[in-house]
Amino acid sequence: MPPDLTLETHADLVRRVAAAGRDHAAEAELCRRFAPRVRLYGLKHLRDEDRARELVQVVLVAMIEAMRAGRVEDPERFDRFVLGMARNLASRARHAETRAVPTDVAELDVESVLPRHDELDIEALLHCLQRLETRARTVLHLSFYREKSADEIAAVLETSVGNVRVVRHRAVAQLRDCLGAAS
C-alpha cells in the first residue's frame, strides 16, 4: 500500500522530491495543496478565472521544477516560497498584460488538482440580497462591482469610512448565512 502522503508536512514532501529528483506522488500532493491557494491569489490579482487557472498552471510547473532541481533552500518555509512565485508570475502577467504560458511540465492537469468550485446560485443570492438593508446592498455593490474604496463609498453615501467597513463585513456575513441556509 502506498504511504499516506496527506499526513506529511510540506517540507518532508519537498525533501522527498529533491532526494529522488522526482517523485510523482509527493509532487501531486503538493499540487493538490497549493493549487487552490494560487487560484485564489490569481482571482484577487488578475481578476479573471481563466487567468487565475493559467497562473495555477505556471506556478505549479515552476514549483515542481524548483523542487526537482533542489532549488528550495528552506523547505520549512515552502508556503512562502510558493507565494513568492505566485507574486512574481502574477506581477509579470499583469504588467505584460499577456497570458502566462506554461513551460516544460505543461502536461500538468490543473483541473485534477483544483477542487470543484460551484458558482453561487444567482437566484438564491438575489433572494438573500432582498433581505439586506438597501444601504448594505449598495455598499456591497460599490465595493465589489464598482470597486470603490471605503473612502469613496463613505463620501458618496455621506457616512464614515468606519461605518462603510462595518456595514460591508456584516452584509457579507448575512449573505453567507442566508446562502448557507438556502443550500
Binding site: L40, S143, F144
Partner: protein
C-alpha cells in the same frame, strides 16, 4: 501553520474589497498560503464578491459594447420618462438593454438610479451610475435572473448637477418573463 489566530471576517472582506494596505495584504496572503481553514473562509467571501460582479443592473456604454462583442442575444428597448411601458423578456434573449432616454446629462456631476417597485419598495440603489454626458441616456442591463424581483419595476433616475437640485425622471417598466 496552526490557526491559533485565524483571519477575521473583517480582514477577509477587506482583502477582497481592496481595502488593506501593503503590509496587511502581505500578512493576509502569507496566512492564506499556510492555513486551510482561513483559505476556505476566504474562498466563501470571494464567491460572494464574484457573484456581485455578475449583477450590474446599470451599465456603461463600454460594458454594453463588451456584451455585444460576446455575441449574446441582446434586445434594445427605448423608454421615455413618465410613460408606463411594459416589456416581455423572451426565452431566446440573453439581455434586454433598457435605454432610459431623454435625460440631460451634459452638466451632470453624478447620476443616481434607484430600482424599486410601484409600491415604493427599493430593490437596488446605484448612487454613482455610469453615464456618457453626450448620450442623454442611462443603460439598464436586464437579465433573466431578475425575474426573482417584483415585476412592476420603476427606475428613478436623479441627475445631480452643481448648484442645482437633482432632476428626477421616473421610468415605469412592468416586466413579464416568458417561461
Amino acid at each position: 501553520m496552526s490557526c491559533a489566530t485565524p483571519l477575521t471576517d473583517e480582514q477577509l472582506v477587506a482583502y477582497w474589497a481592496d481595502d488593506l494596505d501593503e503590509a496587511a495584504l502581505a500578512q493576509v496572503e502569507e496566512h492564506l498560503f499556510a492555513c486551510d481553514e482561513c483559505l476556505a473562509n476566504a474562498t466563501h467571501v470571494q464567491q460572494v464578491a464574484q457573484a456581485f460582479r455578475g449583477l450590474p443592473p446599470v451599465i456603461s456604454h463600454a460594458e454594453l459594447a463588451a456584451l455585444r462583442a460576446r455575441g449574446l442575444t441582446i434586445v434594445d428597448n427605448d423608454f421615455i420618462a413618465e410613460r408606463r411601458t411594459p416589456v416581455t423578456f423572451e426565452r431566446h434573449v440573453d439581455f434586454m438593454i433598457h435605454h432610459l432616454t431623454g435625460l440631460d446629462l451634459t452638466a451632470a456631476e453624478r447620476v443616481e438610479v434607484i430600482v424599486r417597485d410601484e409600491s415604493g419598495k427599493v430593490m437596488f440603489e446605484e448612487p454613482i451610475a455610469p453615464f456618457d454626458p453626450q448620450s442623454g441616456e442611462i443603460l439598464i442591463a436586464c437579465q433573466r435572473h431578475f425575474a426573482a424581483f417584483p415585476p412592476d419595476v420603476v427606475f428613478d433616475v436623479r441627475v445631480h448637477r452643481a448648484a442645482a437640485p437633482p432632476a428626477l425622471s421616473t421610468f415605469c417598466i412592468p416586466h413579464v418573463f416568458a417561461s
